[in-house]
């Protein structure tokens, strides 16, 4: 296009400027104008190029910023749960899918065992195994560990793309780009997706955002294809993480809000029904979910809204048929009361007959933060289930915390189906993030998107101001060559004297804030979130790096120097790691599905030696692993966790009483230690 255009011009330039030999500078002037013109013609392409290259850079950035842990330590699996995931992935790649599906693991929860295939979300493992098989097929001889380590960063990169499209869908491309950048480095997300953090969340946040994006797209277009896609996104989410419950409650809530605000439309009807029906059928294919999806209390909201939609549609149809307004109102009243009544009765009967199971403890503890502490100590004992402190909000969101309300303001200013969704997502997830530390993760995409709207809208407004001014002055200057009369235009400039300077200052302010954000994110990632927590590093007296690798030392010793059928007892935190790294049978592990069993271990840990010995013999224990951090000053050792052992043990065995282990209401491990401690 551009080429065909510039050619004739060039030809005519030479023609016209041939006779006067003095017009050389003019010619160059003209040429520069020409090139400017031809560039301006391609604005669209330029914009596309810039957008694609920004996205590519963000994609790469999201990946490499998560590699701090590999550089600082090594390519290894982090924390506790990822070890289980790694072990199951290894099993999957070695034995194949059917073996994996039917796997009964006798190495954990001795002597009960665990049906792995039916009690886990297989999405992560299957994803990693697929990538592994794909790479193998392409003749890249990678190790499955490398695939597992890099799964989370890879999916974080994909999340940035989804965030871009989501942002584009709810606002514009600018907001999409900003959202992609923000989410790429947001510490709240990085905390669960650094290289080596091979956990469900790494994949699940991608799936969550994808499902939401596809659903919003389906609502916006009313297309069955997008609805279908969102059902598949939901299926992937269900296969990957228990957090899918959030989706299946938020989407009905959103639909309900639209219904109430009178935004019901055919598009919504198509999108929700397609997504719910297909999503439900697909989700039931996951064995761990199965019939829970239609039976448990957490999923009832979605079903209720589904039926409500049908009632609405029916009413719409009746309204269409009936011309009499009064008659319709009467009919409406009867139908609504009937529908509500039938629904309530169905729910009541279902609950009473036990067909519909009540809400699970975790769900309760989300709605009522104090519930877990009183009723389920095992949930309360996990540090990431604690309520969030303000500092950790600031730590994980930084400026997004301030941009979030601003973004909400912009959203409310331009209400649409899409912005209502993001507002609801943001507000609910913010609440959950306040209840549990780990749910900051779920809130992160929403916060990033809403903040991106704030940033993008603000900057767009400011640059608009700047651009209109500069355009005027530009035309003024071009005119200056002809007649030199710019005064009339200059008058216009003075109408709002400090507007231009103010805009520039604000732009610089925004730039400063965003760069502070980038610096903060990098710092947090490198300092706080890139530690594998199995290997500890500290600075020695001379500034040299000291590495404590005692965990792996112990696990490897177990692996090499104990009989292959030895049973190891330890507090449940270490269960997954012992089975994965030590390759030995454990009594309890991080799955925590059997509270009594854990309580038995807690009782064994907190009894006198001779009693404990009896308990351990009855559990057929050969080795006991306890962690003592007193020598190196490692704080999260078993002495630190001891009170929880007492509490959980005491929850099942009333012989164990917490006050027995306290001195004057205090927990001490020094000389005045309480009597039962051994």
């Amino acid at each position: 296009m551009a080429v065909t255009k510039t050619e004739p011009i060039n030809g005519s330039t030479t023609k016209s400027s041939a006779p006067p030999s003095t017009s050389m500078p003019l010619k160059s002037d003209l040429l520069s104008i020409l090139s400017l013109k031809s560039l301006r013609l391609k604005t669209k392409q330029q914009e596309l190029l810039i957008r694609v290259s920004i996205l590519c850079l963000v994609y790469v950035l999201a990946f490499i910023t998560r590699l701090f842990s590999v550089l600082r330590y090594e390519s290894m699996i982090h924390e506790f749960d990822p070890y289980f995931n790694y072990r199951t992935t290894l099993f999957l790649t070695q034995k194949g899918f059917y073996e994996f599906w039917n796997w009964f693991d006798s190495e954990s929860w001795y002597p009960l065992g665990r049906i792995i295939g039916g009690t886990l979300y297989p999405g992560l493992m299957v994803t990693a195994a697929m990538m592994y098989w794909g790479l193998r097929f392409l003749r890249f001889a990678v190790h499955i560990r490398e695939v597992c380590v890099l799964t989370a960063p890879f999916f974080a990169s994909n999340t940035t793309l989804v965030a871009y499209f989501f942002g584009k869908e709810i606002w514009d491309t600018g907001a999409g780009l900003v959202a992609a950048v923000l989410i790429a480095i947001c510490p709240g997300y990085i905390s669960r997706s650094v290289a080596g953090s091979y956990d469900n969340e790494g994949v699940a946040i991608f799936a969550l955002l994808l499902t939401f994006y596809l659903f919003v797209k389906a609502v916006n277009t009313g297309s069955l294809a997008w609805g279908l896609a969102s059902a598949f996104g939901y299926f992937y989410m269900v296969s990957a993480w228990g957090g899918y419950v959030f989706i299946i409650n938020l989407i009905p809530l959103y639909v309900l809000a639209l219904l109430i605000t009178g935004r019901y439309s055919m598009r919504l009807y198509v999108a929700y029904n397609c997504m719910y029906v297909l999503g439900m059928l697909l989700a039931m294919q996951i064995r761990f979910v199965g019939f829970q999806h239609v039976q448990s209390g957490e999923h009832m909201a979605a079903m209720g809204v589904f039926f409500l939609m049908q009632v609405f549609y029916f009413l719409d149809w009746v309204k269409h048929l009936l011309n009499d307004k009064k008659l319709f109102e009467a009919f409406l009243r009867i139908t609504v009361t009937c529908a509500v009544g039938v629904g309530a009765i169905a729910l009541g009967v279902g609950t009473a007959s036990g067909y519909i199971s009540p809400w699970s403890g975790r769900f309760y503890s989300l709605l009522d933060p104090t519930y877990a502490k009183d009723h389920i100590p095992i949930i309360a004992s996990v540090s990431e289930h604690q309520p969030t402190a303000w500092s950790s909000f600031m730590f994980d969101f930084h400026i997004l915390l301030f941009l979030f309300p601003a973004g909400l303001y912009f959203c409310f200013k331009r209400l649409s189906d899409a912005t209502i969704f993001i507002v609801m997502y943001g507000l609910t997830s913010m609440y959950f993030a306040g209840v549990m530390v780990r749910l900051i993760l779920v809130a992160t995409p929403a916060v990033c998107l809403i903040s991106a709207i704030a940033v993008s809208a603000t900057i767009k407004n400011l640059t608009m101001l700047l651009r209109t001014k500069s355009k005027v002055s530009q035309t003024g200057s071009t005119k200056g060559t002809g007649g030199g009369k710019t005064s009339s235009k200059a008058m216009l400039d003075q109408s709002q004297p400090f507007q231009r300077n103010g805009a520039i200052a604000l732009l610089f302010g925004a730039f400063y804030l965003l760069s502070r954000y980038a610096i903060h994110c990098t710092w947090v990632t490198s300092e706080a979130y890139s530690s594998p927590s199995i290997v500890l590093a500290a600075r020695g007296a001379h500034g040299n790096r000291v590495i404590f690798d005692d965990y792996r030392e112990a696990y490897y010793w177990l692996r090499q120097n104990t009989p292959p059928d030895a049973k190891v007892m330890s507090w449940w935190d270490y269960g997954y790691q012992i089975t994965a790294m030590g390759n030995r049978t454990v009594i309890v592990d991080n799955n925590t599905w059997n509270n009594t069993h854990i309580a038995t271990v807690g009782r064994a840990m907190s009894s006198y030696e001779d009693e404990a010995y009896e308990i351990m013999r009855s559990l057929d224990v050969d080795y006991v692993l306890v962690v003592f951090g007193g020598v190196t000053g490692y704080s999260s050792d078993d002495i630190n966790k001891f009170l929880w052992m007492v509490r959980i043990g005491g929850g099942v065995f009333p012989v164990i009483k917490e006050p027995d282990y306290l001195v004057n209401g205090e927990y001490r491990v020094d000389k005045v230690c309480s009597p039962p401690r051994v």
Binding site: M76, F140, K485, V535
Partner: protein
């Protein structure tokens, strides 16, 4: 050197039937035997100097070496060298010859007691004969047992037994008949760790891009006295020499010089306790296992390093050969079962192997990065390997340099196919139904967009012509050349006509298309404004040219032009805005 081969050959037969009948023996006598047994490490090295004399009339071409049965099974390595190479092949009557024999035994030291606690020291028992076991009569002989500098618990005292520091000396004994045997036992303290690799797999992978990658998988056991009772880390760290004196703390590997990318890890990750020192002659790697190895404990680990190719790969008569050392680079390590795998590049053929000692050979294939057929792997196996086996072996093969380019080519073509398929995807119409209304609408919209772009480009050309006209006016004001200005005007006029002709069909298409209804008013406005601008400009142009022709200058001219000028500027602004708006779509 034919003589020496004889010796080795004979020796093997002898070991197999160690209770040999003396009838086959000739009249050889050993005039002097000097034996030194080195017990300072777990590997027992026996160095013997034999002076062989032929007392009989027949020439002798063979000498038999014998070992007690209990030692024979532990024999790992034996070599004998002649001191006088110039001697004839066979020993004539009265001739004598000195032979140095080095015999290396593994597992010859037996821990006693077999189990010790962390605080105990490790005691071992060594058994041998004080008299040199030989089918020949020995005139004079002596034996020195060298022990580590530590406590000696007990040792067998025979006549002529002396002890000097940590050396025990037996003999000299004179004129002993063939097969004389005097068992001795030495019970002494040694805290040398008994590191034994039960299995070691060395993989040497050749890349013709300039690297030899060596990967060694160790399965190491401490085969000293077994540890019993508990292990206290605190005691071990506080008093390492008293609590855990015999523990295996580290291993030292001497790697070839210029070794790079060294790593040390096991199944569950990197092991951080290792150090490397490099100098031009060697690279020294000190590795500590994850935990100190006490007696009976085991661990597995992997070390790997890269080496420059030119140090190990040479060409010979169109073939290439790899010259590499056979055994483990770790000091004082016994390897029970050593497997050396040489992975040659894909496409190598005509493979042959030469080793300094007999090994079991095999072949397999390995599939690594970007391999299709797999790489040929030469597998060499040998049991009971000691550091003395660290000799060079050679693998000869043929390899075409061109096949090096295959893998990069595969990568390039892979990316190429990816991009081509992307391009194809973008250009191929994938819609299923070619008659659906949405599809048709899309097609129409594409057409409309193309037309609008054409319109915009024509307008842009007009605008550039306007600038040309302005420029000609500018020229006029400087040079006063009215004629040039007029020609510029003429060309511009003809071009404008052409443009408006081109615009007509485009506009009529837009008017007819239903998809363009929204954008059409803007486009029409744009065209109209442009036309007006054009007219204004031409009017201005002709005014100025007129003025110049009539020599009307200065203020008068400015007054006449002013109204035109203002209009032109305003119109230009409007046209620009419209263009921006249309391009946004």
């Amino acid at each position: 050197m034919g003589f020496r081969f004889d010796l080795l050959l004979l020796f093997t037969t002898l070991v197999l039937l160690s209770t040999i009948t003396p009838t086959v023996l000739s009249d050889v006598i050993l005039s002097k035997v000097d034996r030194r047994i080195d017990l300072t490490s777990q590997i027992v090295r026996v160095t013997s100097t034999l002076k062989v004399e032929n007392a009989g009339p027949d020439p002798v071409s063979e000498v038999l070496l014998t070992f007690p049965e209990i030692q024979a099974k532990d024999l790992a390595y034996l070599t004998a060298t002649l001191n006088e190479v110039s001697l004839p092949k066979a020993l004539g009557e009265g001739d004598s010859l000195t032979i140095d024999v080095l015999a290396v035994f593994t597992h010859a030291l037996r821990p006693f007691p077999e189990e010790i606690t962390q605080a105990d020291i490790q005691l071992v028992l060594f058994q041998d004969t004080a008299h040199y076991l030989s089918p020949y009569a020995v005139k004079v002989q002596s034996l020195t047992v060298k022990l580590p500098k530590a406590r000696i618990e007990t040792y067998t005292k025979l006549e002529n037994t002396n002890i000097h520091g940590s050396d025990i000396k037996y003999g000299p004994y004179e004129n002993l008949p063939p097969f004389s045997y005097a068992p001795i036992a030495v019970h002494f303290e040694t805290n040398q760790p008994f590191a034994v690799a039960q299995e070691l797999v060395r993989e040497i992978e050749i890349s013709h891009w300039g690297n030899v990658q060596v990967t060694e998988h160790y399965n190491v056991v401490h085969q000293g006295a077994k540890s019993k009772g508990e292990f206290s880390r605190l005691d071990f760290q506080a008093r390492p020499h008293l609590r855990g004196a015999s523990a295996l703390r580290n291993l030292v590997a001497k790697l070839p010089p210029r070794a790079h990318s060294i790593y040390y890890r096991d199944e569950i990750g990197n092991i951080s306790t290792s150090n490397v020192w490099g100098d031009p002659k060697k690279t020294e790697l000190v590795i500590e296992p994850r935990y100190p190895l006490f007696g009976g404990w085991r661990t597995t680990f992997t070390i790997g390093y890269g080496l420059p190719l030119q140090d190990f790969l040479f060409g010979l008569e169109g073939k290439r050969f790899l010259n590499f050392s056979f055994g483990s680079p770790i000091n004082d390590l016994i390897t029970d079962n050593l497997i050396v795998k040489v992975v040659l590049p894909e496409g190598s053929n005509d493979i042959s192997i030469s080793t300094p000692f007999p090994v079991k050979q095999g072949q397999e294939t390995k599939i690594s990065h970007l391999d299709v057929a797999g790489r040929p792997v030469v597998v060499l196996e040998k049991t009971n390997v000691v550091p003395e086996h660290n000799q060079y072996f050679q693998v000869y093969y043929r390899f075409n340099k061109l096949s090096m380019l295959r893998e990069p080519f595969m990568l390039i073509s892979g990316f190429f196919i990816l991009f081509v398929s992307c391009i194809l995807y973008m250009h191929v119409d994938m819609s299923i139904s070619k008659s659906s209304p949405s599809y048709l609408a899309k097609l129409q919209w594409d057409e409309v967009r193309a037309t609008i772009q054409q319109v915009v480009s024509i307008i842009n050309q007009c605008l550039s012509k306007h600038e040309r006209l302005e420029a000609s006016l500018h020229d006029l004001s400087r040079t006063g050349d009215v004629q040039a200005c007029k020609t510029a005007r003429k060309t511009a006029d003809s071009l404008f006509k052409e443009y408006s002709k081109e615009l007509k069909p485009l506009l009529s298409f837009l008017q007819s298309s239903p998809q363009a209804t929204q954008i059409l008013p803007k486009v029409e406005e744009l065209v109209a404004k442009e036309k007006e601008l054009q007219e204004r400009l031409i009017a201005k142009h002709s005014t100025i040219v007129d003025c110049y022709e009539k020599k009307i200058g200065g203020r008068e001219l400015e007054n006449r032009v002013a109204s035109h000028q203002q209009k032109v500027v305003a119109l230009k602004q409007e046209v620009d805005d419209l263009l921006d708006y249309i391009e946004e779509i």
